[in-house]
Structure formats: C-alpha cells, structure tokens
Symmetry: C2
Subunit: 209 residues, 2 copies
C-alpha cells in the first residue's frame, strides 16, 4: 500500500518507477502499473534495485533487511529512502516492534548496505500524507535522518519536487541512529489514529524559540 | 528537577505540597521548600504518599516501581499522576529505555498499585512546559492515559486549574497500555531537543478532519 502510493505519485511527477516484488509477475504490482502507462513497470526486487537511481524500501519490517541484503550490489552508491516500520502484528493488536530501543530497522538497513546512503524518512505518517502533505492543513513536520549530509539534502529536494514537502518543514534529526526514535513513535501514532478515527494527521513541533 | 518544578507551581496555585524523598531531611527537598512558605513541606516517600490527596510520581525510571510498591497502602483509592520516564543513562548517551514495546513504566506502576488510579501524563515534555504550557506559543498537545475515566477527567480539570492546560489540548489515548507509546516517544524527543538546542518545545497533532 505504501509502495503503491509512493510509486503512483512518482509516476505522476514524471519519473520512471520500477515496482519490485518477490516475483516480476506479482499480480498486485501488475494491477498497480497497468493504468499508469509506460513509466510504471514491474520487476523482481533485484530488477527494481538495478533499475532505479533512488530506491524506496517500503517492504514490511519483518522482511526488509533480508530483501535489502539480497540486492546489496545493485544499490551501491545510490540513495535508499527507508520508509518501512518494524511492526509485528503476529502477536495481535496493538502491534509491537520487532526491533527498538538500542537498534532500529533503519540502522539494520544501513549495516546491510554499507555502500548505500540510507536515509530514513516518511515512516512517521500515513502514506496518503507522505505523498500529499496538504491533506493535513497548515505546517507540519517530516523527520529524516541518515549518515550522509548530501544524500539528506538530495532527499529533501526530491520530497519537495515530488510530493510538495516544504524544505522548512523537514527536520533533520542527525545520523541513522535517529531511526530509533522515528520508529518508536509508531505505538503513539497508532493510539492517536484510534482516537481520531482517521489516519490523515501528522505532528508539528511547536517551539518557543 | 521535575518534582520541584511541579511542586513549586502547585504551591503557587494554592495547594499544600509534601515533597517525598528517601529521607525526610533530604537537603535538596528542604532547599526547595524553604522559600515557599508553610504550604511546602518535606517527608519520606511514605509520608508524602499518606499526606496527599493526589500524588505525582516524578522519581527516576529505574526506581519508580520499587518506591511505589513500598507506599502502596498509602495510595489506595487515590489518583497517582505518573510523570516519570524509563530512561537509562547507565550505558551513556543517548539513553535507552529500561522498559518499552510490550510493557511500560506506567503499566508497571498500575500493577504495583492495583487500588490506585494511575494516570500517565506530562512525561512527553520538558518540566518547564509541563507547568507553563504558554512557554510554547500556540496550541499544542498533552497526552494522557489510564484505566479510569473519572480519574482522567479529574486530572484534566486539575491540569487546567494548576498549570493552564486547555482541556481541548488534552488528548486521552485510552487505557494505561498507551503509556508504551507515551514513553517510547522519548528517543525522538531527545533528538528534537538536540536539533533545536532548547527544551521548550512540544508537539501539536495536526488533523485534516
């Protein structure tokens, strides 16, 4: 769902998008690509990793690191925007996290991809809001982190160009270890979602200056 | 620091406050009480628990449950506002949490105090902001949770009366298990603090409606 929301918006913004799945003939991926024209194609994870200049990891938390490790050579020197969260629904609701506190999925991704610039971003909100921040009125914030300043600057520019995120509303939290905090907000996010009954919300950091 | 900030504001709001410590002659507690007049007194933890109608737990995370268990009889039938966070600084910076994900300090407190209405609140912000929300301009939110609706309503009224929190800016996240999310925001909070260089901030939940 997240990958398709992002992929659709990227195609609409003029990009060529290759949706990676376990199989190049994944039915859901083919159904996603069909109405979008020739700029949307489907491939295996390896095929998508090889095709892209910039990769998004929207795989579910339990599978993310294994998938990334398998396509490591294809991602060298590239930027990977890590969107996934380590949610574990196997023990019922509310989900717990498969990793937190002293490690994170973002850090695991960076360790699995030592020659890739992993930027954790977008994971703290619903996918509709990721690609259309105007769904939530007013200014609100997108957090990101990563070890490479140029990669973060590039992602910030692209998030503006593709999705309309004002650079002033992007908060750079530092190196990739900040993924811990970005992923650990999920339990609070899920509770706020329950209270509001609607996933179209986000947080704004209010500051006395 | 948190207990003294809250205690001072409570005294200024006209309440009698007993500051509990391991010893009734704790120097820091006595120094806190001295300039505040007769409404501020010091006692052991048990003495403070017995004296109060409403208790605040501002002990550090590593000690909270042990202290509460020792004063359990004195807190029966009362409201305990649980402010502490399970921060562990013993392994250096950034701190990790001593409990998270499938349990929380707020839940541990409720289990240690089965006859007390534990309300988790205020832990998601700096203590100056807890007692003076106007330090952060505009509307911003205070989360709370707990198993007893009347206790939460009472706390909401008191937070307005004592500290100036508008009831409309208080978000009730449900039962005490929401303490997990409220405590797990700490790693993100600490990163935002580093970025801003100032603890006088808070989050506002922005909602598309």
């Amino acid at each position: 769902m997240v990958g398709q929301a992002i992929g659709t918006k990227l195609v609409q913004a003029g990009n060529h998008v290759t949706m990676g799945s376990r199989s190049a003939s994944n039915e859901s991926a083919l159904a996603w690509a069909a109405p979008l024209g020739e700029r949307a194609t489907c491939a295996t994870f390896a095929g998508a990793a090889a095709a892209g200049e910039i990769a998004f990891d929207c795989t579910s938390g339990a599978h993310s690191v294994r998938v990334l490790g398998a396509v490591e050579p294809d991602l060298r020197g590239k930027i990977l925007i890590h969107v996934g969260n380590p949610l574990d629904f196997s023990r019922g609701m509310p989900p717990s996290l498969t990793v937190c506190n002293t490690d994170s999925l973002g850090e695991q991704a960076q360790r699995a991809l030592p020659a890739t610039h992993v930027v954790k971003a977008l994971n703290t909100m619903n996918c509709d809001v990721m690609v259309d921040p105007a769904l939530v009125p007013g200014d609100h914030h997108l957090f990101l982190c990563g070890n490479d300043a140029r990669a973060k600057a590039s992602v910030t520019r692209h998030l503006h160009e593709w999705f309309g995120w004002k650079p002033a509303n992007v908060i750079d939290l530092g190196d990739i270890t900040a993924s811990r905090g970005m992923e650990m907000i999920l339990p609070l996010w899920l509770r706020i979602w329950q209270v509001l009954g609607d996933a179209h919300f986000n947080v704004r950091v209010m500051h006395g200056g």
